[in-house]
Symmetry: C2
Subunit: 389 residues, 2 copies
Amino acid sequence: MIRKEYLMTPGPTPIPYQVSLAQAEPMIHHRTPAYTEIFVRMVEGLKKVLLTSNHVLTFAASGTGAMEGAVANCFSPGDRVLVAVGGKFGQRFAEIAKVYKLSVELYEYPWDEAADPEVIAALLKDKPDIKGVFVTHSETSTGVVNDVKCIGEVVRDTPAILVVDSISGAGALELRTDEWGVDVLVTGSQKALMTPPGLAAAAVSAKAWELIEAADSPAYYFCFKKARKKYDSQSPETPYTPAIGLVKAMSEAVELLLAEGLEEAWERHRVLALCTRDAVRAMGLELFPKALQGAFAVTAVKAPQGISGGDVVRHMNRVHGVIIAGGQDRLKGKIFRIGHVGYYNFFDMVVALSALEMTLTALGHRLELGSGLAAAESRYMELTGSARP
Amino acid sequence: MIRKEYLMTPGPTPIPYQVSLAQAEPMIHHRTPAYTEIFVRMVEGLKKVLLTSNHVLTFAASGTGAMEGAVANCFSPGDRVLVAVGGKFGQRFAEIAKVYKLSVELYEYPWDEAADPEVIAALLKDKPDIKGVFVTHSETSTGVVNDVKCIGEVVRDTPAILVVDSISGAGALELRTDEWGVDVLVTGSQKALMTPPGLAAAAVSAKAWELIEAADSPAYYFCFKKARKKYDSQSPETPYTPAIGLVKAMSEAVELLLAEGLEEAWERHRVLALCTRDAVRAMGLELFPKALQGAFAVTAVKAPQGISGGDVVRHMNRVHGVIIAGGQDRLKGKIFRIGHVGYYNFFDMVVALSALEMTLTALGHRLELGSGLAAAESRYMELTGSARP
């Protein structure tokens, strides 16, 4: 059977052909009016996607680069920060903070649960010298989504800034950067922004700029002040050579996303998540997260009794060409993850679920073929207008 | 929901990205060694696809152009020909033959049945001055596939040549041009050859060349003799400007098809057809053709009681972005057709069948959601190795 690949991981994700074509256009130079126009359109579009009027700084880097930028620009060695860790990407914030010799307070919560805003409030009260709170919006490794709005309310009236990694959230999940009081919002190009990996962005609030003025950790490539200054110049640009093709691509992708409508995109991700959830349950599987509120970016599923999550991932790939993700770190072998953040619609889920039904059957998990798909179709028709003639 | 389009018509059909990229390469001139190499590779590859050692002539035209070429080159006004008509494309051969003022004997057989080789044998015996027999291999309008091998045995020992339209057959269905005694085999680029429309080909036997020498209908653009002469020259070429981008594309597509393997491609189409068939039956629908032997290019389905085939097609397109075909001519409104000839695999069928389950439900046909998909998956696992862990 002809092998077609279906990329269903939570990043990288499929690229709309309009975006691929934009990236394939002839190379242009980045100190030209033509580039400036595209670059500014992208940045101003990103502001609309992130619902912020703050500066949005972009870097030729993966999302981790902007995470490092947040740490390096806002804090000085010895500064006390609180890092909420409930998965691999929470851990990453803690690792970066340690590399920059910050004094890290870990708030570790179970990987199948969300961070508790009240715990964060109590910790902030207990240690009023905490200068920053690091939270993962969508924890890609577990599928759990944190209540950033609520955490924002808790952090807002303290001296601390709120730093949020929304790499797999922005564009897919409700996210109101300014309204929710997110001081540094970090994201990347390769998930809901429907662009190849290689571009990172950070939206930085006035409260964060105050810290940045005072901070003295080393920051050169990811220097926020320099990036802001270059964007505010007569002809907006970046300090160093930008990833020109990716900027063209993301400029196009952001326009597509805004043409769909931000709330419509959020609703699409909600629908896909609910359909996928119903389907895997109908196949007799259990979801990994206990906290399912807003968990619409990734569906993390416990591997069935006696079957390794890795075997599910390998069979899906080898036999059906459907690329899903396994568990990371302590979840290795125990779960598998179906991504639906990005350029996906219902039929992408149908393909993944059909392959999953056949994969599980082949691996010895008993289920009725078609049962997952029936549940997905039924929920889809209920949630959308497609039950009408 | 983001609209993605799923082209599931029996032509045009989806293009592999390698083929799209080949077509998008910088334009080259057609009287250059670089072009000649690509052109020859395409033609020699086509011979392997058609299982012929005859000349394969190519034209910048849709398949109908090569059908006209077959008539114009091989016959003279007044020549008696037998045209087997069991659908819209059989009719087309008859129309062309009449335009060229041939004396047309129509053998009309029911649209849901295949042509009967014995009837053709009897007609040839009855009218021994018949100079050509025109048969549609895969009748795209009905889904029926004729037994060209058997018809070839009947025509072989008569003075008549056998002209076969395999536009939606070649590359998808078993077809052995030389072994089966097909004298003029006509095909087009936009179906199993996985290329955009605009290229037609004709494979011409020695028996046909004898007729061509004697014929005096007008043929200029589609002149077979001129095309053969140009191909046989020092630097093989075409008499007029070729569709250079399409030649690049088809050269790539033919290589992909041969890399898959011809028999493997035939088997793939058989598997897709059998899965689709089982699925639509499980949805409580009836197939249109009574003759199902080898009918693996298109699945033609009767519209359910009280629902127009056109409504099924429109809902599939408007609500789900799945483009299937309706009925043509006398079958308008009565059937709909799912194409699986070309660059398709099982999950393309899964998408079409999922959309069909939801469409039929929305239009009031009662079925159990998931039932068609379950039947397809079950048959797929049985026919392929995918039931193994």
